[in-house]
């Protein structure tokens, strides 16, 4: 029989790994420069931990049972685990906490076939920081990540969940959820069919299309009849847009989810390739989430984002990523079986230079085969070692 991986799982071979590491290392360097620390949480969590935030449906989680019959799930994202760890395991730490992660996540695809189950994500959570400066930090950090990857055509779609939610308050309570659903799903046809007065219908349609150039959108919102709390959110948003400067930005107040998870900023980062736009990552502010995990219900503000490494991989593959695994710098060849010890010692000597990759020729074979092997593997130099330990260096002839 042939052993296959389960549907949706995949093996990452050395070249895939080299490319994935290239992305991860670039991101990690940026995270470190912004003074973020890595956190590692368990792959398995209790299902109730994963679902507490309200953003995760149980049917999308790959579930298991432990010996006590508790229901566990493979994490579909990291924020729930980090929130749990922060409030239960890090009591007494000083805030803000700047955390980052680089981990695999698992999703069960609803439509059944060929969906990938295991993904990799890298992201940050800034805990205990609220307000304009924390918001600006996270978005500028995201921009720094994308720029350090050399990503060309990316764009940030930025919304404000609290502001959008408050703008929904003008609709009759029984219809609010439906209006929100239509806006979240960009379903103008269903929105027009709702039993709303002409004024409210116009208002709902305006909300569905409340996006574009930040200055124009801010002006459009400012012209609405706003409560003082809404004004203050709007002013914050205006200051944020100014701080973000050159970040390619679409302000989109229709960017909202059908459930209450985000409590402030909400954003998606998108690549605009010729083969179609795709989401590379997402994030937002969740000021209520940590309170759900805290034993005394004490809330700590938080904001974060995650980048989907598979999507970054796809976008960066043609231009940025290494197209081959690293080659060896040296091939050390024992000239006879009596020379093995000397060859091992010589190779080890070469390895004292930490930048060099040194391999030993395992097969005793004629010299022309060794040279052919070195040429095929693009190994720069061959060291022929004899039993006395003396070596002859031979540069490999190029093709």
């Amino acid at each position: 029989m042939i052993y296959q991986p389960p549907t949706g799982a995949r093996d990452l071979l050395p070249l895939d790994v080299a490319q994935k590491c290239w992305i991860e290392q670039h991101l990690q360097q940026v995270f470190h420069r912004w003074s973020y620390h890595r956190i590692i949480t368990p792959t398995l969590e209790r299902l109730d931990t994963l679902m507490a935030g309200g953003a995760i449906q149980p049917e999308t989680v790959i579930q298991l049972r432990d010996a006590e019959e508790a229901v566990l799930g493979l994490r579909p994202e990291l924020t729930a685990s980090i929130a749990r760890a922060a409030v239960t395991r890090m009591a007494g730490v000083t805030y803000p906490q700047r955390l980052y992660y680089n981990a695999n996540v698992f999703r069960r695809r609803q439509d059944g076939f060929n969906g990938q189950h295991e993904y990799y994500q890298a992201g940050v959570e800034l805990l205990g920081g609220s307000g304009l400066l924390a918001d600006a930090e996270v978005i500028l950090l995201l921009a720094d990540c994308l720029n350090s990857l050399g990503l060309k055509h990316w764009h940030l779609i930025l919304g404000e969940a609290e502001l959008t939610r408050s703008l929904l308050a003008v609709f009759p309570v029984p219809l609010q959820e439906q209006v929100r659903h239509c806006i979240a799903r960009l379903d103008q046809v269903a929105l027009e069919a709702l039993p709303l007065s002409p004024e409210l219908r116009a208002r709902a349609l305006a909300l569905l299309n409340l996006r574009g150039n930040p200055a124009a959108v801010l002006q459009q919102v400012a012209s609405l009849d706003l409560a003082p709390a809404q004004r203050s959110v709007l002013n914050n948003l205006k200051s944020l847009v100014e701080l973000l400067g050159p970040v390619p930005l679409t302000l989109d107040l229709s960017l909202i989810q059908t459930f209450d998870y985000y409590t402030g900023l909400i954003f998606e980062v998108v690549s605009e390739a010729d083969t179609g736009a795709r989401v590379l990552g997402q994030g937002g502010r969740y000021d209520q989430l940590l309170g759900l995990y805290h034993p005394q219900g004490q809330s700590i503000p938080g904001i974060g984002f995650c980048l989907n490494l598979e999507d970054l991989h796809q976008v960066l593959l043609p231009t940025q990523l290494p197209q081959q695994t690293p080659v060896s710098d040296w091939l050390v060849v024992p000239e006879s079986s009596q020379a093995i010890a000397a060859a091992l010692a010589h190779a080890q000597q070469l390895r004292t230079d930490p930048l060099l990759r040194v391999e030993i020729d395992l097969l005793s074979r004629p010299q022309e085969f060794v040279r052919e092997y070195a040429r095929l593997r693009r190994i720069a130099q061959i060291a022929w070692v004899d039993a006395q330990g003396s070596s002859v260096v031979e540069p490999t002839s190029p093709d």
Partner: protein, 212 residues
Amino acid sequence: MLTIALPKGALLKDSICLLKSIGLDFSGFLEPTNRQLQMPDPTGTARAFLVRAQDVPVYAEYGQAQLGIVGYDVLKEKRPQVAQVMDLKFGRCRLSVAAKRSSHYQSALELPPHSRVASKFIHCAHEFFAQLDLPVEIIPLYGSVELGPITGMSEAIVDLVSTGRTLQDNGLIELDVLFESTARLIAHPLSYRLDTYRLHHWIEQLRSVAVV
């Protein structure tokens, strides 16, 4: 370049006619000898894909087409994540339950429990009978669904009806209507948000010419 996915079949002619009225001419697809799967419009501002109706929302969901035209029935069956921009009002039809005229059923509720229902719209059919709380076995068929009751394979069918002629000619009678369907303009959500290739300009053009 702005890319529009167009459905083969009943909606194609009206779709091409509508796009022509805003200056995008893909009438080459209507030539009987046409074998092209994609074509640019003569002014070079947009191109169109010609695909099966069920595949239109797929191209719009993944973003290879920024716009698409497809029947509401397909959207209801496949539930793709696309923006529903506009009801284009043409291609009106309905998804109905039908049975043999000789069976004398008056409504779907009278079907015996655990009967078989043949349909291409398996999700819609399943949802409908689940709402009726009537257990049935759905048999997926992808064409000539009317043969289900004729051959005795199924008690009833769930299928699209426009004039009712096909049902009548095959000795079937419509019992219940699941929903009415018309052609919809759909968009790739991210392109819609980003206004890729001046998407909203074209949508406004279509709004101004579409039948109200």
